[in-house]
Amino acid sequence: MAAHLKKRVYEEFTKVVQQQHEDLSAKKLRLTKPSKSAALHVDLCKATSPADALQYLLQFARKPVEVESVEGVVRILLEHYYKENDASVRLKIASLLGLLSKTAGFSPDCIMDDAINTLQNEKSHQVLAQLLDTLLVIGTKLTENPSVRMRLVEVACKHLTDSSHGVRNKCLQLIGCLGPVEKGVAKEAESQAAKDVQKIIGDHFNDQDPRVRTAAIKAMLQLHERGLKLQQAIYSQACKLLADDYEQVRSAAVQLIWVLSQLYPESIVPIPSSNEEIRLVDDAFGKICHMVSDGSWVVRVQAAKLLGSMQQVSSHFLEQTLDKKLMSDLRRKRTAHERAKELYSSGEFSSGRKWGDDAPKEEIDTGAVNLIESGACGAFVHGLEDEMYEVRIAAVEALCMLAQSSPSFAEKCLDFLVDMFNDEIEEVRLQSIHTMRKISNNITLREDQLDTVLAVLEDSSRDIREALHELLCCTNVSTKEGIHLALVELLKNLTKYPTDRESIWKCLKFLGSRHPTLVLPLVPELLSTHPFFDTPEPDMDDPAYIAVLVLIFNAAKSCPTMPALFSDHTFRHYAYLRDSLSHLVPPLRLPGRKLLSSPVSPSIAPHEDPSQQFLHQSLERVYNLQHLDPQGIQELLEFTIRDLQRLGELQSELAGMADFTATYLQCQLLLIKALQEKLWNVAAPLYLKQNALASAAAKQILEETYKMEFMYSGVESRQVVIIHHMRLQAKALQLIVTARTTRGVEPLFGMCEKFLQEVDSFQRCFISELPHMQGSFVDKLLDLMPRLVTSKPSEVVKILQTTLRQSTFLHLPLPEQLHRATANIIEPTGESDNPLRFTSGLVVALDVDATLEHVQDPQGTVKVQVLYPDGQAQIIHPKPADFRNPGPGRHRLITQVYLSHTAWTEPCQIEVRLLLAYNSNRSKASAKIPKSSWSESLEALPQSENGIEGTIPFSKPVKVYIMPKPARR
């Protein structure tokens, strides 16, 4: 070792540049611990000036340090620390100490004493602050040890009187993170340390430095997060901080007040200038409302956000937030909202035709007008009119949350939300439409409000329109005129933007089924029927006509008198639509037309049960009859699979379940078939054909298992085990087939080893599930494991073959909810005969619009695949922003795919489809290895052993006609 060092030292003295090279190579060779710390030691000893030393340290920091060598390195650093005179070098050492103690797997308690010792003689404030930071790192790694924490807190308290804000800052942070949370522990420890941390921190609320004040509040919040119950006494202190000069202090104070209001909502606080008292949560609410008109927008956003979560506030205060008394020349004026309401109730609809329509009426008592109310007055009015859209969005969100919990408030805030539909920023508009949808259970729209809402239907942004359709789906309308208005506007929308067809139909479906009684009087008008004359039959393919019919049929479902108003062709159209658009047209009980109504019995309610029963029965049958003769099993499986697939098509609710089980049975069937092959009895080379079949079966099973694991949402660990088990069987099969067909033993060695590893990891991952798997393949395999490990590949194969044959078929338990991920490409439609022409070599953007259902984390998993006729495939990752989330479990992908190709002689079709990417590591408890954060090391850790990544196509391919033209010269 020493010799090595010596050599290095000599080398370094001669050539500096070369040393770096050597360093690099040394890294590649992974020299172990001693060299690392020693090299550092040498470097530091050699450094002639502080700048040099700093350089060495900086270089050193770029490389990772192994866990074993951390302590040694720390010792050396500390040694230099004591010797070093230059503050900047000490600072760097201190920061390195912190980084080193973060190293995973290293327990820093051995260096804690040293770190505390260094604090004693330190003069530089910056270094002190950095050392305290290091202590914080150490402390957070040793949180379980109360005495360590105690000690660190004590150290921090000692340095609280430091004159530098940085040091005080860090001390407070330390106390916040490590301060004792349980009272009991504090008492049994040394008495002077048992000081109340809250008091210590509270004393710094009035520190002269705003940064320290902020740190104090943050520390308090940290304590709260760690479970300490803050004292109510802090409240008054925090209220004073709301008037601080610095925005970060105010921002933190708002948070603190919010926390306190959640802790002590019901306690009573006095109102300063009077004798009255109010609940603390109300007082806090008023104060936070006040901050919505703060000078700094950061504080405003913060305040507006927090308002939303203060649901205990009394309704009287809540409603004040929307109140803004208008006046003009000291006379009370009604708001436009009030006027609109009045006009509406008086039956007159037009507004503001005259000048002075809004003329102020009553005189105001000058004394009673309070221009800046201390309470919550008009907080949301201000928030929604704010300059910054961040504040407006936060206000809308808060409004949403409050309205969800209070129906009366929801009713009141409606006018304001409707106003937000005209905001200049699209995000805000969208957000307010979503909000409205969320609270739509609590509200009924007035006609004038509906009018404003519907005006937005002409918006050119598709997102807005679709959000609005969603909103209309769940809106309550009060009058039949409202329904009519909505229909007219939707039809207008349809003519203007024909692509909205589906969404508009769906919207009308819900509108109809929610308001059957309101639709009823409109029916003659809508169908343009006449009591005496026959009217011409409307065009069946007209989307507008279909829209009207969808509305009427859905209303007719719960309004039995309605069909009497239909004319003959309406019934015919009903039959047609019921077939072609069955998801939009409900089954109706029509007089005298029972046959047409629907092939399925019209009473749907008790229908679900039998199908579910059927599903379970068929599964039971399969599991019970597993000891049938091979032929019987195969047939039974085939039938059951067919049944299940058909069931899935018929019952959309059970589709996921049925498909899932069918796939599983399919795997089993394939496995059985493969094992029945004759090749197992005959010498291998003669049966190449069958053998191809078996290996194909193994391959398919593998694919299917990945589909089962990743394409269904709601799969629980019980199912995952079974799926993995099936996969293991498939792998065993693969191994056997290869063993049969390949000559020589060498390739088998590797395969066997890999397989055994997989068995091992299976055992490790699912150890808890093993007891449920009696008699299964893996169960038997694990019994034989000791023998397998020692035996030769050929023997292993033999054993595997027998176990595979003997193993029983595992019962697949079904989860509560199971949904298959599906995707449907709406655009491109694939019907166009006009090729998309573009110059070769350049790109053309293809709009892709698809709906995704039951896809978890679509941003990470959904890809678009483009297949060119020459077999070239291209996979495109859409941007996260291209995914919209219109409802739970549903996503919408609207993106652009860039195509390019060299010139073709004639147009040809390319295929576009969606893929679901998976990574077999993802499911496993997601134990990600934390990145070594302290060094920007280029040596990425090798991807964990058996992470298999792949893709599953999950949408029908769509053909697009394209034509890259040769570029003109």
């Binding site: 003009s328 000291l330 503001g352 221009l371 918006d459 942004s461």
Partner: protein, 599 residues
Amino acid sequence: LICLCLHPGAGQDVGRSCILVSIAGKNVMLDCGMHMGYNDDRRFPDFSYITQNGRLTDFLDCVIISHFHLDHCGALPYFSEMVGYDGPIYMTHPTKAICPILLEDYRKITVDKKGETNFFTSQMIKDCMKKVVAVHLHQTVQVDEELEIKAYYAGHVLGAAMFQIKVGCESVVYTGDYNMTPDRHLGAAWIDKCRPDLLISESTYATTIRDSKRCRERDFLKKVHETVERGGKVLIPVFALGRAQELCILLETFWERMNLKAPIYFSTGLTEKANHYYKLFITWTNQKIRKTFVQRNMFEFKHIKAFDRAFADNPGPMVVFATPGMLHAGQSLQIFRKWAGNEKNMVIMPGYCVQGTVGHKILSGQRKLEMEGRQILEVKMQVEYMSFSAHADAKGIMQLIRQAEPRNVLLVHGEAKKMEFLKQKIEQEFHVNCYMPANGETTTIFTNPSIPVDISLGLLKRETAIGLLPDAKKPKLMHGTLIMKDNSFRLVSPEQALKELGLAEHQLRFTCRVHIQDPRKEHETVLRVYNHLKGVLKDYSVQHLPDGSITVESILIQATAHSEDQGTKVLLVSWTYQDEELGSYLTSLLKKGLPQSTA
């Protein structure tokens, strides 16, 4: 200490803003506006009022113009060129760019159209603008060694600013016109907690609390939209700058959103030039425009085209912005006459109309107008009124006061009766003095200026070390010597002061005799006193010295028997004058006598 003089103009009146501030010996003129209502001498402020004789340049240190509206800058060329002022004039960059356009337009109307003489010329405007120094937002401009000014964003119109004027530690904030609610093209006024001694605020809407702007916007858009859908024409008379741009943006974005095709026209003229500046000064606009200008500058209108006289007769729907805003002359009136007969059409008045104008007549409901040449024009088109005003309402004014935390408030630019109400409210809510001077009235405000004193570092460290943690908010008592020499103040330790002045230190001691009835021996008495003091003064070091005296900190107590009466002991208490507090406390304590039970 601040003396404030209001000039004709401003004060309790709208129009003709011109305020003179004297702050710590510096004279600053704020705004230099004209009055729209007069055509004679009264339209400009009376500058002879400032100095009876002597040049303005000598008297005024600088002139500040808050924004480009003529009632704030209209008299500027007259003031600088005809009356004569050569000092600096400060305004923001957009104001400097747009102001001459408006002045030139104003000059053209008065001289070329009305044929007035004795008015400033184009050259004068140019010369005047040469004296202008442009400032940036939040830039502190040092006018001279003591006077500094700083601009804050004020909303209202492009380039409008509030100015903070500071001399030493005294400061004044002048708001000009401002708007606390953002609109479609400008943000809201903002000021930091600068705690000026005086805030001079406009108070146009002192007694109004306005409805949310969203309702107004929605109403406006709905009306325009409905009319256009019906196939009608919409006429919007506007003044060329300010509101017109806001309405343009509003309609432009609406057209964009709703995919409308009907043409929008803007009558040409000075607007085009001004629009150019709007495109340039993106940083002065609101968040939306600032954020999206990289993709598209909102002022590069897609749907709004220049208007040509011939377009007015085109069939089909259209929207036209035309000047002037009160329908009293020019293009807007011409178009109005063409369109008035059709009930499908609509005219929207976006602002206030002066009595006597056509705009005012139709707003008050007159349906038959007599035009020149005794023609009768029947108005069948719909007439709408929409208030789009960009002044802060009562709530906004209060909000600004809350933000700035001034010590005094002065209201200008409003009507006396309305201001009275606001004044009362301000005094009630903020507990600050509020003034509302009339035209020509002078208001004097007394301030408590803080005087900076240099303190020697040694003394500061020593003194802060004594107490607990220094607290920024609370005054702290310090012992030191104040030396006033050569117009500077210094606080030094007594020792140093003595040294500097070459004086010897004198010690001042107070002694006091306290008689105590105690028959015991002297040393016993001393012991009792000692025990007593030790019990009472726990925080001080009480010591019993071997020579029979007691010290409490540096105070000496000795006991002797009374020469005549042995039962009476005389306690001699002696302290230096620095310990006066403790010393007098001790004597009073001892005078109460010793507790009996102590043994």
